[in-house]
Symmetry: C2
Subunit: 340 residues, 2 copies
DNA sequence: AGCAAGTGCGCAATCGTTTTCCTGCCGGAA
DNA sequence: TTCCGGCAGGAAAACGATTGCGCACTTGCT
């Protein structure tokens, strides 16, 4: 319905209004607010009073137009906003917000056209920087068409160009934490069940796990790493297989918490005590999985929020013209619960 | 030939550059681009060529400063960005993106101070509208301090002021779908296990469930609704209780998928066949729960993405000065899998 | 030829700040 | 008294676009 238009449109006060009320020129009013320039304390106070009186707040767009800084960064997520990118996003938003910077959200859904389109939009809005995050940890090609126009930080999925700034989780460290925790509780026959071999996350974690074991003159139990998918169902199936081919396995290190949960389910239902007889360690520390498992999972926390925070800090540095290019790895934490 | 621009491409081309290259005034160049005003076809073409040549794109900030529209909306989420607000957010971003509008993300973490702060920021940036979303479905007080300055749409958590625009899930509809599906498969003794009684979501779903049953001259089985928390552990415990006090129960309708999963676990481990002997229906259609349960859960999908989309559309209407105040309810879908 | 009605396009104001330049004015030194 | 340094604050030019107004030049009609 066509209601009565807002006649009482109380338009916000401008600096001109403030200056008029304070009896000074706009230039002086501006200087009074920014603290630059010299003026009598009394004059400055008159301006401040007027600001108070009119509830004046500067128009960001006008400021940005003049200074060229928009105090805005774009956050492009390539793969929806899933379980992984959300904490990253929050961490970044938090760190940026402290610096008075706001976040423009773009979801490309993995579509190159859409990515280009959003990129164009961000440039049109003169963002000060861009954070690119993906769900997978596989490297991705850098954004095309923005040669140095604005700084970019890649998160979770590093850029294939080592000259770019990338922030990722230190998976080698995560695997070390898990394996050494298991070793510390006396386990020696450790099987590894994980996701698809063509996922970097799965392949890398398997590799790092083997490396850490090798340092202790051990090998993966039950043959090589067991690649499947990231599901509970796969965890259940894989556990059955391992129990069959290597019944003396005394620990499972799993590529994520869903697999780990599936493994514990199979173990419990097979009458194998966890952690008494076999220990299980997960990866990701996904609360609703890790806590609901029986028993609750000991698991590697990749601290996604911290990753987001660090990415934001690196971006701020780059915006301030002192970028630190390269791959930044963020340490993991081991969350010890009951399963190992 | 793209010779000269490659080296000097330091700053983006402005309309002035375009006008100079085309040999016209800025005003004419502007009109050539906007399509307004009359001019010789040849002149327009010269401008268009210059735009092409210089890769010109208008500066949004300058446009906004003049027109007063920022083509930006704020999206405030009050409670982190969880499982519920994320799909809403994506739906909104999608619908708004189609209208060339970008989304500024703000996370208040349920803190009133932070909310005020973000609100202030959004106003300073002259957003065209604001979407407010919360995790809980309980009503919330409207944003304070923005008397009609910009339109606001509340999502998931409706505003306590009925004159505001709110978009929520139609929970009565969701409960009807679930209960009538159970009735359709011949169940008559339906128990209800749900979250804390002080959560609107739990209380309402229990109420609606009873209402639908009453329409069929039935009552909740195993006494009144069983309130607890939203966890699997509660689902497991509640199922045990129900099996004990009302062993002839033939269906469970649960307040969310986690509870439902807990219920199926207890049933399976007690040797009760699902759905052969007892049927189970969940709520939320949270994939990683519903699909991983044994058997996979039949559950109510609240279509959060659609809710986000609709919220965005309502906001666009309001921005265009034809708001439709009140509570808008979005229908649910029943996703039938194996548990009922 | 003369006049009105149209075209095509430039000029300049505008949006709200920031920042540079410049002008008074005051006091102190010569 | 005159000159100069320094401080307070005003005028105005940016920033990059949009748009109302009006000037010059065509055209069409008598």
């Amino acid at each position: 319905m066509s209601g009565p238009d807002r006649t009482i449109m109380k338009t916000r006060a401008t600096l001109t209004d403030v200056a008029a009320l304070a009896g000074v020129s706009v230039g002086t009013a501006s200087r009074a607010l920014s603290g630059t320039g010299r003026m009598r304390a009394e004059t400055r106070q008159r301006v401040l009073d007027a600001v108070q009186e009119l509830d004046f707040r500067p128009n960001q767009q006008a400021q940005s137009l003049h200074t060229g800084r928009s105090w805005t960064v774009g956050l492009m997520t390539t793969d929806g906003i899933g379980r992984f990118s959300t904490p990253v996003l929050l961490g970044a938003e938090d760190a940026l917000g402290a610096g008075k910077i706001s976040v423009l959200l773009c979801d490309t859904r993995g579509d190159v056209i859409r990515e280009l389109h959003h990129l164009q939009n961000l440039m049109d809005r003169r963002v000060d920087g861009i954070i690119v995050t993906g769900r997978r940890t596989d490297p991705r090609p850098p954004l095309s068409g923005i040669q140095d126009a604005v700084p970019v930080v890649y998160v979770l999925s590093p850029s294939t160009d080592p000259a770019d700034i990338s922030v990722v989780s230190d998976e080698a460290h995560g695997c070390r934490l898990a394996v050494e925790h298991l070793l510390g509780t006396g386990r020696r026959r450790i099987a590894h069940v994980t996701g698809p071999a063509h996922h970097a996350a799965a392949a890398n974690r398997a590799l790092f796990t083997e490396q850490v074991l090798a340092e202790h003159s051990l090998e993966l139990w039950a043959g090589r790493a067991h690649f499947g998918d990231w599901s509970e169902a796969w965890g259940r199936r894989a556990a059955e297989t391992v129990l069959r081919i290597a019944p003396d396995t005394d620990a499972f290190f799993c590529g994520n918490d869903q697999i780990a949960r599936g493994v514990t389910d199979t173990l419990r239902e097979s009458g194998v005590n966890v952690p008494g007889h076999v220990a299980v360690v997960g990866y990701d520390n996904w609360d609703s999985m890790a806590l609901a498992a029986r028993p609750p999972l000991t698991t590697v926390d990749v601290d996604l929020t911290e990753i987001g925070r660090i990415a934001a800090l690196r971006l701020l540095e780059a915006i301030d013209n002192s970028p630190s290019p390269g791959l930044h790895k963020v340490a993991c934490r081991l969350v010890v619960r009951d399963s190992a």
